[in-house]
Amino acid sequence: MPELDDLCRTAVEAAESDEAVEAYAEESRRTEASALRGEVEGLEFAESRGVGVRVIRDGRLGYAWAADPDQDEVREAVRRARENAALAAPDEHNVLPEPADWTPIPELFREESAAIGADDKTRLALALEARAISHDPRVTKIDEAQVGDAVSRVAIASTTGVTAEYGRTDAWCLAVTLAVEGEETQTGFSYRIARGLPELDWEAVADEAVQRGVRMLGAGKPPTARVPVVLDTFAAMSFLGVLAGALSADAVQKGRSLFASLVGEQVGSGLFTLVDDGTNVAGPGAAPFDDEAVPSGRTELFTEGVLNGFLHDTYTAHKGGTVSTGNGKRGYRSPPGVGTSNFYLDAGETPVEELLRDAEGGVLIQDVSGVHSGANPISGEFSVGATGLRIAGGSLGEPLREMTIASTLPEMLTAITGVGDDLRFFSSVGTPSVLIGEMTLAGV
């Protein structure tokens, strides 16, 4: 089997004299085990690799990809990308990045994790389920208990002289419990990720999934009102994806971002600092370079509520007369576009208990749904489904369901009156709990 860098080199060598060619190759070996009713429910092995080729000719970009190609098929992909380029519109900003120095991050690859066998993963999945159903009489079954890990490599080469390669390991586990009382069933979800299985706090996942399910039992529908809202880390995380879309320079340049004309302005509360940092090793999205081989960087998008700028890949940077922030992201099946690395809301100093005290009479939201369809990244308006708990006397009371929260992104960011000290990453997106002074909550 050819090495990734050999495949990339083959593509680059197939370039004709008047064109720029870049090849991006990735491979991963992924294992996932799940448990159900004390038995192994499923064990999945996935070994995949692929190569994507960009050809730029007279400013025209064409793309082609192939799953697990041999050298001939890579050359064929270059030829197809060249054909595709001929039909694309010329655009002077279609350029490939020049080679740049990047610093390897050895912590991303855990040798010992890569060597863990399937048996250990099935054992862990079984232990995860067993723990989840042994704590509370109302949780005797689960919807899902899953443990997985992946070892991946990426290689990039281009006619500008770029050659870059790195490897990483990732591990994750998730649990969804079923909490039952009488006719009612509620689910409790928890999820954690780490560089390797040995570091994964799976006990915490089991316990949290139990707690989050059980506390929703007996939920009712609240009256429609404007109230203070605490978004816990799970709920707050759901909004970061919408923010990421609106902070992409691509959206800005195409007039599809509500933030387009707001650089330098106070958009959010002084407690709101939002960062993208691919160099932060503590975050799962860390990498030495982005998917165009531009070194990862740290970009403070908002500092104390003031918008500083946007995330760039090489294309948007060239178009905007600036430099890439190292945010060119992709899989091998598509050309790069602007994406996030470790994208997170900077932690505050307020303990969650204090946020709850400050939200007296309000609601803690533990889950929001429908964000992908209920939020408009251009206008910033959103309305999403939510479940949570009434906040009374500084602690959590009556569970609530079948309600929606609605606002606009600028209004919500301005209304932040507290940021917790509990920053947590979900995939490469992270956030602490956030207190919003007032929001419309629709129920009965």
Binding site: E41, H372, S373, G374, A375, A406
Partner: protein
């Protein structure tokens, strides 16, 4: 795609530790996608995907492994890996393979793969022109064209061997309209398992115009009201709701895990008596149609609700054999990279007898939903939510001002029980459904229908 001897050898290797059956899924997929943004062809991508997945099952447990390579060594390695999930047992048998013919549900007249990319770019230009010529307030148009041909071959140790080609085509339009700082979007993206004859039903011009019209309509919109009220769903939209709120809890994996609100309710009324619902893989050229599902079971029409009474669930092989029933042909997978799970195909609420305009006239105050942006459900609790991308107020029996920022939220059984009017019209909607990390093309359809009471989440009064 593979010789019979090799297929049988792989199936045998996967059963080296026994199990109830083994299966080999082989796929080759070619695809083209083109994106026209701001009048320019921004992206033209062609892809070649190929791989084979081996599964071995024991009860509802399974092992799964796939390979991008189709040579003997790689396939046997995948079979070996999949078999690891089973504890040691006696090797299982493999029945001699018999090839089965499909019904030809997705027969294509003019395969998209035979058309040059320049033609596809021309369709996008037509879409773009149509959207822009509608109004000077149309400020941006994105057109996305996609086609693919998936060639599948599935064999299992029961001796079943099927081959099927699935053609797909889609043309989608996203339009942004602006007026004095007010920016709104409109979308429309029909799709089919068909060839280029698809454009006889929807022209590129009509697709561009419809998205533009939606964006322009939303420029006039006011914030949606909040609270409980009647909602009338335009043709097609009730199908989207039915898919999400009802269809997912009817998938047999949710039922098996006791994570479905419908568990134990077959034979009881859990929807309004006007509700008749089916899942139907046999609709010719439907977005969710096929001859065989992704574990070689014939696709079929399954009745889910008859006069509001629940009739049954949607099964794949593993869940069906556990319950001692037959598969309903709903085992689907995104590609060779994933094992099949119970999924919907085309999920429809059937037409009734009322007239759509009479249903509106009969509604004092509420919301008329003409486009939904997608939704989400928790099958265990039945809680669901949908974004409304185009909707209007109903005031004194008339459709009046457009509203924005609305969503619909409710619980499956309560909301379906509140369906109190079903019209004699019908339309479909084609979407991509996500479940367990796997994407699947699904169709849904419905007539105009009314829900007498549902929570609308909005920011207005």
């Amino acid at each position: 795609m593979l010789p019979r001897e090799l297929v049988e050898e792989v199936l045998r290797a996967a059963r080296r530790r026994g199990g109830s059956f083994s299966e080999l899924f082989v796929e080759e997929r070619t695809s083209t996608s083109i994106r026209l943004d701001d009048g320019k062809v921004e992206e033209l991508t062609t892809g070649l995907d190929r791989g084979a997945g081996v599964r071995v099952a024991l009860g509802t447990s399974y092992g799964y492994a796939f390979s991008n390579r189709l040579d003997r060594e790689s396939l046997l390695a995948a079979a070996e890996a999949a078999s690891v999930a089973l504890t040691e047992g006696q090797p299982g048998t493999v029945v001699d393979l018999t090839e089965r013919e499909g019904a030809g549900t997705n027969r294509t007249e003019r395969p998209a793969g035979t058309f040059p990319a320049a033609d596809k770019v021309a369709w996008l230009r037509e879409l773009d022109d149509a959207a822009r010529s509608l109004s000077s307030e149309v400020v941006q148009v994105i057109g996305v064209y996609g086609d693919s041909l998936q060639r599948r071959s599935i064999a299992n140790s029961d001796g079943v061997w099927v081959h099927e080609d699935r053609p797909r085509i889609r043309l989608a339009s996203q339009v942004v309209a602006a007026r004095e700082g007010n920016i709104q979007t409109g979308m429309f993206g029909p799709a089919a398992c068909a060839g280029v004859e698809f454009f006889e039903r929807f022209t590129a011009k009509a697709i561009g115009e419809k998205a533009a019209q939606r964006a322009l309509t939303m420029l006039e919109s006011i914030p949606a009201p909040a609270g409980e009220m009647p909602v009338v769903l335009a043709p097609g939209m009730g199908g989207v709701l039915f898919h999400e709120a009802v269809g997912h809890p009817l998938e047999a994996d949710a039922v098996d895990k006791e994570a479905s609100v419908y568990r134990g309710l077959v034979g009881t009324r859990c929807a309004g008596e006007l509700v008749n619902g089916v899942d139907d893989a046999t609709i010719p050229n439907g977005w969710g149609s096929y001859d065989f599902d992704d574990e070689a079971e014939p696709g079929q029409r399954t009745v889910l609700f008859e006069d509001g009474v629940l009739q049954g669930f949607l099964y794949d092989r593993l869940r069906a054999s556990k319950e001692g029933v037959g598969s309903t042909g709903n085992g689907r997978r995104e590609s060779y990279a994933s094992p099949p799970i119970p999924r919907m195909t085309n999920t429809n609420i059937l037409a009734g007898v009322s007239k759509a305009d009479a249903i509106i006239r009969d509604t004092e105050r509420g919301v008329f939903v003409t486009s939904l942006g997608g939704g989400q459900v928790n099958p265990a609790s039945g809680d669901f939510v949908f974004g409304v991308s185009e909707g209007f107020l109903i005031e004194r029996g008339e459709v009046t001002t457009p509203v924005r920022g609305a969503n619909l939220i409710g619980r499956a059984i309560q909301v379906m029980s509140a369906v109190d009017a079903v019209a004699d019209d019908f339309d479909t909607w084609e979407g991509i459904c996500g479940k367990d990390g796997q994407q699947a093309p699904v169709g849904s359809g419905s007539p105009t229908l009314r829900i007498s009471k549902i929570t609308v989440g909005g920011t207005g009064a």
